[in-house]
Amino acid sequence: MTAAIAAIRSAAAGDAITIAGERALCDRRGVVFFPDLGLLAVSDLHLEKGSAMARRGQLVPPYDSAATLLMLQAVIADHRPKTVVSLGDSFHDGGGAGRMPDVFRDQLAGMMSGRDWFWIAGNHDPEAPAGLPGETVRELAVGSLLFRHEPSARPVEGEIAGHLHPCARIVQRGRSVRRRCFASDGLRMILPAFGAYTGSLNVLDRAYRGMFRWEAFVAYMIGKERVYPIAASMLRPG
């Protein structure tokens, strides 16, 4: 519990937490920044999910890519990372990059210029995104950290992954609050989904079973103004 409390106190004060010894800042917009590495990680952008749904007859607003990219542009401008890692499912489907209007492609290319950019292959987008720069890899090791799309089922120190779209729920004064979250036990981290149309899965779901040291686990729930670190004992399923 002491590990969790230390992490909660740092995060509550707006300071960095550590993952496998590496200092990390959980940005309330849903990205994690490693200041000592100058590296920014973002996961599950699911770009062009709107047009993917429209193809199946659900004509949801075609503004999700715009919204997602605008937010991404803002966090990149704030942190000025040397390296950006997109942890997979960057596009909602294989044809997504091809369907994306040129204006967004240009916007993305603008963000990419002057820095290293890695596309980690995801289950939705196993191939390199068509017509975009950046390097497509299955995994990426930087310092003590290992970046991949799907988290391993067993505890792996230093693993930074996405894929599961974590969220957490608490009940306080008889009322329920459910938010996207960063999930970490100080050894590894699963990032929340960043895309404008992405849903989420509770960290208490069986899909996460065995991944974390529960006594050190903290859900960094995303609020309007800041990130709220919540210990495992307060979390509720559903």
Partner: protein, 849 residues
């Protein structure tokens, strides 16, 4: 079963001349009446003559007036003449369509109409078609339609969206609309009106027969029944005066009537005595939670083990059918029920109706009292049980209203655009359409009579490609314009999706409640289901919490997929009170009556002594406002300052007012901390001393309550509000933007909620004027916020605000002050709750908690 009274004419008071009846009714009918010693009633013959003359008609009559037979006489006489279909004769479509708001009512009518049809020996086939009708029977009904089809608005929408609709409806002569007053309200009524407009286009000369309880504005219903393009036409009106005056009393309890709360526990012994003194008692309450509590309380005093049952919409259907059957067989002494039993269905030999809690709308009261007796010439007997002091006033007002016959239904509002979108897609599913023709057709439906062409075109555009300014979905269009200028569905998948998503009733996401053995959690194997409860209620529970449901105290064991597991609780006292269920606002009329009663000490004689005393003390310590005035009291209490006002406009309107006042007080530097609203009053509390601020003119009540709050403040708040998100979800589903469910796969409420919320955020940022957001705002203003009520109130009290600065709480303020802490505006304070959770953890760790 009392079906005679529904269909019969035992005591025909105003029998028409035998000549007239003989001229209109075929001989077998005349024989049938004569054999039973009856005669057709005047309104039955009048309606028959009207309809035979080619007109549509609205029959307004109290329960027990032979309304159903009246509604079907045109059909039965017509079919008696037409005769049986010969073998080899061409296909015959349905002859009469009967539409009711409830599945149960359709089933009831099938049973009750079957009897005279059989006795007269008519060659008429009658069948129901509802959501429960098996697929093979539906298919058969399409191939060999019955003469009379009894169905619901949703089924009509499905029928007209199918390609064989013209064939199915080609012989249609009449549409009978039962309980019309409850069919026309809400989006369901909008969808039905569009369906009827379609039928009018398919079958020129179609006649509508509306059957309704007494309503305040019959002309609205008369217009609703007939095409409104050009506007102004009305169906013929027939009104049957009310029968015997009901014998209604308010329980004059020897016990103390509580200040606040909704449980009426004080009256349980007296209620039990009343049940014992009657054959069968129906007990009505306003919410499901009240039903559970009352049922549980009655069984705690049920020393004689009287058969007392529970009936509400969340219970498992088999359980409900069981209770209904026992009721019809007179095997029960009492049934505790909510509005599920509300409409005109016969339920055995009830001789007493008890209404617990305030009856809210006077017409709702009349409807419920009517239940106890379907013979219109004998008085019905009813007792009202107010559960707190304000409800005593409301019951008294409702009683007066009932005697005066002044009844009200919600005013009809303009047709919703999400419903229109659904209808446009449905129309395309049946056959291609021309926008010009459909526009003219739609304007024939009364709720859409004022629709303008640009809005209609935007709706069509929305249906086709989503209607976005960024026109990137042309290639995914659901409907496309052909070379001939007609809109048609782009592929069969669209029609399939439409059929799965039809209807306007979006239920709260619900979870099944399933029994398991205690302590085994969600790993246990499930037992029988008890019913369904809203997901949001279950989400706030922790394993081990106990609550009341289905008349039992249950222990929450956890949630697994779409089921909540529960076991029998060891304790008798539930820890979590109960989920809220439905709530009705006070109608405008009743609110006015209550204010009138407060203002007039002469009327206090009619009230129980303890309530009259309460008002006298209020007059002494503070004051009672005039009928048109708004009383605002300010006083200190504890470390805070309170402002309490008494608009009597219902909780929704008060909540909206509270939210807007808080914003203004914030700007005025009064540092407001919170507010709470009841049906009767609103309390706001703050760090700032209201009395002082008002005295020093730093705050002005006239400005604070100025109507302009409904402008920018409302807009700004609405945009941020969670209420709007929920409304958007409903509009998005009804409008077909997101699906209720996929073929073969039921989506859980959670997945829909999440994606609808995200879509809302994105759409609001990028296209705030999108037609679906427009529909959402209109919807929220009418149904969620009661802006109309609030706006009428603000204009009424202009220059009529009376302020009383007090040293301490007034008697009238006590009930709402007791609500503080119990009530919260759910969903508004999420951020602070998260912060609290973090702080409590840190405090705990530091040993300071």
């Amino acid at each position: 079963m009392n079906d005679q009274s529904r269909i019969s004419n035992r005591k025909a008071k105003q029998a028409p001349s035998g000549m007239e009846a003989a001229a209109l009714l075929p001989k077998p009918f005349l024989d049938w009446f004569r054999e039973r010693g009856w005669a057709p009633r005047a309104h039955q013959i009048e309606l028959l003559a009207t309809v035979q003359g080619g007109n549509s008609a609205l029959l307004i009559a109290p329960t027990g007036a032979g309304k159903t037979l009246a509604g079907f006489l045109p059909t039965l006489t017509d079919l008696a003449v037409r005769g049986k279909r010969k073998p080899g004769e061409a296909f015959r479509g349905i002859h009469t369509l009967y539409i009711s708001p409830l599945k149960a009512l359709a089933v009831d009518i099938e049973r009750n109409l079957g009897k005279p049809v059989e006795e007269i020996g008519l060659p008429v086939t009658i069948e129901t078609r509802t959501g429960d009708t098996p697929q093979h029977k539906r298919t058969r009904q399409k191939q060999a339609p019955p003469d009379v089809l009894l169905t619901t608005p949703e089924q009509l929408a499905l029928l007209i969206a199918s390609q064989d609709a013209p064939r199915f409806f080609k012989d249609l002569r009449f549409v009978v609309l039962d309980e019309l007053h409850s069919l026309v309200i809400s989006k369901r009524g909008h969808l039905l009106s569009l369906g009827l407009a379609r039928l009018r286009a398919l079958v020129p000369g179609l006649r509508m027969i509306g059957l309704s309880a007494t309503v305040a504005e019959p002309d609205e219903l008369r217009r609703w029944l007939v095409g409104q393009n050009p506007p102004g036409r009305m169906a013929e009106l027939m009104t049957v005066a009310g029968g015997a005056k009901p014998d209604i009393s308010i329980l004059d309890s020897a016990e103390r009537v509580p200040w606040a709360g909704h449980q009426a526990r004080y009256a349980i012994p007296e209620i039990y005595q009343a049940i014992k003194a009657h054959r069968t008692t129906l007990l009505f309450v306003n919410t499901r939670s009240q039903a559970e509590l009352l049922f549980s309380a009655l069984w705690q005093v049920n020393e004689d083990s009287l058969p007392i049952a529970l009936h509400h919409g969340s219970l498992d259907a088999t359980q409900r059918r069981k209770v209904e059957k026992a009721m019809a067989g007179n095997a029960l002494r009492a049934v505790v029920a909510t509005s599920t039993l509300d409409l005109g269905i016969d339920w055995g030999d009830v001789d007493l109706v008890i209404h617990v809690g305030a009856p809210k709308g006077a017409s709702r009261l009349a409807q419920r009292i009517g239940r106890s007796n379907h013979r219109m010439d004998e008085p019905s007997k009813a007792i009202l049980i107010p559960s707190n002091r304000f409800e005593v006033l409301e019951c008294r007002a409702a009683l007066d209203a009932n005697y005066l016959g002044a009844q009200d239904t919600p005013p009809l509002v303009d047709g919703a655009l999400d419903v229109l979108s659904q209808h446009v897609l449905g129309t395309a599913c049946a056959a291609s359409f021309s926008a010009d023709e459909l526009f003219e057709e739609v304007r024939g439906a009364a709720p859409y009579a004022r629709l303008d062409r640009p809005t209609f075109d935007r709706v069509v555009d929305f249906v086709a490609t989503g209607g976005y300014a960024l026109r990137s979905y042309e290639r995914y269009a659901r409907i496309r314009l052909t070379k001939e200028g007609r809109w048609r569905v782009s592929n069969p998948h669209v029609a399939q999706q439409y059929r799965l998503n039809v209807g306007t009733i979006i239920e709260q996401p619900m979870l099944n409640i399933r029994y398991v053995r205690a302590g085994r959690g969600t790993a246990a194997r499930g037992g029988p289901t008890l019913g369904k409860i809203e997901e949001y209620f279950l989400e706030s529970m922790v394993v081990g919490d106990t609550f009341l449901f289905a008349g039992k105290t249950l222990r929450f064991e956890g949630i697994r997929e779409n089921e909540a597991y529960v076991s029998n609780a060891a304790s008798f006292d539930p820890k979590v009170p109960i989920y809220a269920g439905g709530k009705f606002p006070l109608t405008t009329y009743l609110a006015d009556q209550v204010r009138g009663m407060l203002a007039d000490p002469a009327k206090w004689k009619l009230l129980p002594d303890q309530v009259a005393d309460w008002l006298r003390i209020q007059a002494d310590k503070s004051m009672l406002p005039g009928r048109r005035d708004l009383l605002v009291e300010t006083f200190p209490r504890g470390q805070r300052y309170y402002m309490v006002c008494y608009p009597f406009e219902g909780r929704l309107a008060h909540q909206t007012l509270g939210m807007l006042l808080t914003r203004r007080l914030e700007r005025a530097g009064a540092r407001p901390l919170g507010y709470v609203a009841t049906d009767y009053s609103l309390a706001v509390w703050a760090f700032g001393d209201f009395s002082h601020l008002l005295k020093t003119r730093k705050l002005s009540l006239a400005k604070l309550f100025d109507e302009d709050m409904l402008g920018d403040d409302l807009e700004a708040w609405l945009a941020e509000s969670w209420l709007l998100k929920r409304t958007f979800r409903n509009c998005a589903i009804i409008g077909g933007l997101i699906e209720k469910r996929y073929p073969g796969q039921e989506k859980t409420g959670r997945q829909v909620t999440v994606s609808a919320d995200l879509i809302y955020d994105v759409l609001r940022t990028h296209e705030p004027d999108h037609i679906l957001l427009q529909a959402t705002r209109a919807d929220a203003a009418t149904t969620l916020l009661d802006v109309r009520r609030l706006s009428e109130m603000l204009s009424r009290i202009k220059g009529r605000i009376v302020h009383k600065a007090l040293d301490r709480i007034s008697p009238l303020a006590v009930p709402i002050m007791l609500e503080i802490g119990k009530e919260s505006v759910a969903g508004e304070a999420n951020e602070s709750l998260l912060g609290e959770a973090v702080d409590s953890l840190i405090e705990e760790a530091m040993g300071t908690a």
